[in-house]
């Protein structure tokens, strides 16, 4: 199962959401679907119209910046990160 790390600022929006999860998913989109099933509304927070990953959310799969269609391997490591921002 892929191992995904979630940002604290996302976790704080959904009671019970852990900062690290193991998910059986074939793609980033499937991973987000699983999150949305467990915590309804999670997909809306990560994805915008298109659908695409929101502009200031970065998802890295095995060290590479990904899109929704990026494939996951059973041992993939996924980091969902918020972009650095000022102000």
């Amino acid at each position: 199962m892929a191992l995904a790390y979630l940002p604290r600022s996302l976790v704080s929006l959904f009671p019970g959401m852990p900062g690290r999860i193991q998910v059986e998913a074939a793609s980033v989109s499937e991973l987000i679907d699983w999150l949305d099933y467990e915590w309804p509304g999670a997909r809306f927070r990560l994805c915008d119209a298109g659908p695409v990953i929101r502009e200031h959310i970065n998802i890295f799969v095995d060290g590479e910046k990904s899109t929704l269609s990026t494939a996951l391997r059973p041992d993939s490591e996924v980091y969902i990160l918020t972009a650095v921002a000022g102000g």
Binding site: G41, R45, A49, I57, A83
Partner: protein
């Protein structure tokens, strides 16, 4: 003294509640709420006792937060706040207004959404963006925001909305169709200064004496309408500047209105470093500066479009928040003022709720 006065403050870094009793002399502060998200508007639905906070995160998109326990706990949702996969991306919620058992949200880019389940999910009121002028709508410096939602006092089918740099629209059929209501409103920044749309309305408010009397603070002056916005008369004369953002109306006296003129164009702070709220008691024919208790030296503060409100107590209270984090209040209709809170993040909105103790 059985009710509490809750001054609801939306800021760049979360929502706050400044709370006192009906004497309005001692205040306490709670917050920040909503995970310190940018909150453009914090409002209260007296029918359900629910607080609603509209805003948007650069990371996570638009949301309406809700609290059914006056701020102790909050949940958020944005489900349905979308123009679809082919439409423009919605950046933030600018206004949340309860009316007739529903909740409405104005968003950026400009559009209107309706929730029938207390903000859990949202449905696009499509008729507004189906107006033939929509393709010409252009954002101003504050974005293309639908910032004012003015329900009819008794008829749920009627509503006014106002969009920055676009103007005022009116619907009589529950939002299916909309008509511009900008006749007589000047757009001094356009070659045609009186177009059908393109007026930069900064705040639209309704007077309490019936559905027909509206006021607006515009980029280009202050205006009054007595026919539901079908026509407008400029009432800027007597003010130190035609520019300003907020406007409020007395809860019972339709001829008493408040504005906070700012120096145009780049400064957008109070003139001469002296803070003043200007009040008219004759529907804008004359204006009086209210300065008692407000800083009168070296105070270069701005006040944004949602950041002034009135309460409904017998002697009405008036409140406003500044872009530099001060919250001022008056318990005597503006005659004198005091500082209710300081060192807040930039204040984006102020509303008032009266709740039972």
């Amino acid at each position: 003294m059985s009710r509490r006065v809750l001054v609801l403050v939306g800021t760049k870094k979360g929502a706050f509640i400044v709370e006192g009793d009906e004497r309005r002399t001692d205040w306490s502060l709670r917050g920040p709420f909503c995970e310190a998200w940018p909150i453009h508007h914090l409002n209260y639905d007296p029918a359900t006792g629910t607080l609603y906070a509209g805003g948007g995160s650069e990371w996570f998109g638009p949301a309406v937060w809700r609290s059914r326990d006056l701020g102790d706990t909050w949940t958020q949702s944005g489900e349905g706040l979308t123009y679809g996969d082919a439409g423009p991306k919605i950046r933030k919620v600018w206004n949340v207004t309860p009316a007739h058992g529903a909740l409405y949200a104005g968003v950026d880019p400009a559009g209107l959404f309706r929730s029938a389940d207390g903000g859990v999910s949202w449905t696009h009121v499509q008729g507004l963006r189906e107006h033939p002028t929509c393709s010409d709508w252009q954002p101003g410096a504050g974005g293309l925001c639908l910032h004012s939602i003015v329900p009819h006092p008794s008829d749920p089918m009627q509503m006014w909305v106002a969009i920055s740099a676009v103007g005022t629209f009116y619907s009589a059929d529950g939002g299916v169709t909309w008509t511009p209501r900008n006749k007589g409103v000047r757009a001094g920044f356009l070659p045609d200064q009186y177009p059908e749309t393109g007026q930069c309305v900064h705040k639209l408010v309704r007077a309490p004496d019936g559905p027909g009397r509206l006021y607006q603070q515009n980029h280009c002056g202050v205006y009054r309408s007595v026919d539901g916005g079908a026509s407008w008369e400029e009432i800027t004369e007597g003010l130190p500047s035609e520019f300003g953002f907020p406007m409020a109306v007395h809860p019972r006296d339709a001829e008493t209105a408040y504005v906070i003129p700012l120096t145009a164009d780049h400064a957008r702070v109070v003139p001469d470093g002296k803070v003043a709220v200007w009040r008219s008691n004759d529907a804008g024919r004359t204006w009086t500066a209210l300065r008692a208790g407000l800083p009168q030296q070296n105070a270069y503060v701005g006040v944004l479009r949602e950041a002034m409100a009135v309460d409904t107590l017998d002697t009405a209270g008036v409140y406003f928040g500044t872009s530099t984090g001060q919250l001022f209040g008056s318990a005597n209709e503006g005659d004198s003022w005091s500082l209710l809170a300081d060192f807040l993040p930039p204040v984006w909105s102020v509303e008032v709720a009266l709740v039972e103790s």
